[in-house]
Amino acid sequence: MADVPAGRLPKPQMRGLLISHLKRHGAIALVFSMGVTLAYKLAVADPRKRHYEEFYKNYDVKREFEAMKEAGIFNCARPSWEQAEED
């Protein structure tokens, strides 16, 4: 009996285990889902908007048209090398 320690263990939670479990994991679920959502926004949605902005910032219609024309994309404007061949 002399070697029983004087301190006590903390009293374990006796009631409301399910509710406290749900509250804790409900908060974790919210943080986790909002984190994944933010990651999608930062990794996919915002870069896509920036990509479109940058594409049209210095978009040169004539330069792009000439490049596509020479590649033979259009029917209404044939490439210069095709007309040279015909000549």
């Binding site: 889902s33 996919v44 479109y52 219609v61 596509m68 033979g72 209404c76």
Partner: protein, 239 residues
């Protein structure tokens, strides 16, 4: 056009389609939030050993999970309605063309300044050149000026068809006896493909749409070419 095994939307070629892509990203955020929440909840509930057999109701949680979905629906609905009205906006169109669906081809009319009409049939397999897309190429393409507000009047001559160009965010039913209006604006040059989107008979899958967006000067040159008497016979045109 779409590339093989493509899952996402096509790259936008018009301001409206760009807004549709941004709206799709917005709705995906909501879906990811809900999916992650449900997925984690399922994991936790399946692995939990706690049971409370006298649990009958929870007024606070029931209020929360009624109000929050209503808020989520409003967050989705407001941008959706804004986009819906944006697609209907027609900002002083500089050109009007008519698209008429037939079994099984499209015919186009440019009657604003000139009287240009032509039919647009799918190119059969044997007539394709190297690099052409199967079931998507046509003999006479719709040529339009880039960065120009265009009104497209869509109708049909026989059964219901649907004039669709996904990269421009366009789809409108072609109903006989009815004129439907579309607002079109190409932001960049290029060729944009679409297919009939309303079942219309045996060759429903074989009446595609091809738009060539070109600078205004090239468009005017094309109009002059179309009006040239010598090309009338080869283009199945009417005057």
């Amino acid at each position: 056009m779409a590339t093989p095994a493509q899952l996402g939307l096509m790259d936008a070629a018009s301001p409206v389609m760009e807004e549709m892509i941004y709206f799709h990203d917005h709705v995906m955020l909501v879906l990811i939030l809900i999916t992650c929440l449900i997925f984690y909840s399922m994991l936790v509930l399946i692995s939990s050993k706690y049971i409370y057999r006298f649990l009958t109701d929870g007024h606070v949680i029931e209020t929360v999970w009624t109000v929050i979905p209503a808020i989520i629906l409003v967050v989705v609905a407001l941008p959706s309605l804004k986009l819906l009205y944006l697609t209907d906006e027609l900002d002083n169109p500089q050109l009007t063309i008519k698209s008429v669906g037939h079994q099984w081809y499209w015919s186009y009319e440019y009657t604003d300044y000139y009287d240009i009409e032509f039919d647009s049939y799918m190119l059969p397999l044997g007539d394709l050149s190297k690099g052409d897309a199967r079931l998507l190429e046509v003999d006479n393409r719709v040529v339009l000026p880039v960065d120009t507000s265009v009104r497209v009047l869509v109708t049909a001559a026989d059964v219901i068809h649907s004039w669709t160009v996904p990269s421009l965010g366009l789809k409108m039913d072609a109903v006989p006896g009815r004129l439907n209006q579309l607002a079109l604006q190409c932001s960049r040059v290029g060729t944009f493909y679409g297919q009939c989107s309303e079942i219309c008979g045996a060759n429903h899958s074989f009446m595609p749409i091809v738009i060539e967006a070109v600078p205004v000067e090239v468009f005017e040159g094309w109009c002059d070419m179309m009006l040239d008497e010598e090309s009338l016979g080869s283009l199945n045109m009417k005057r």
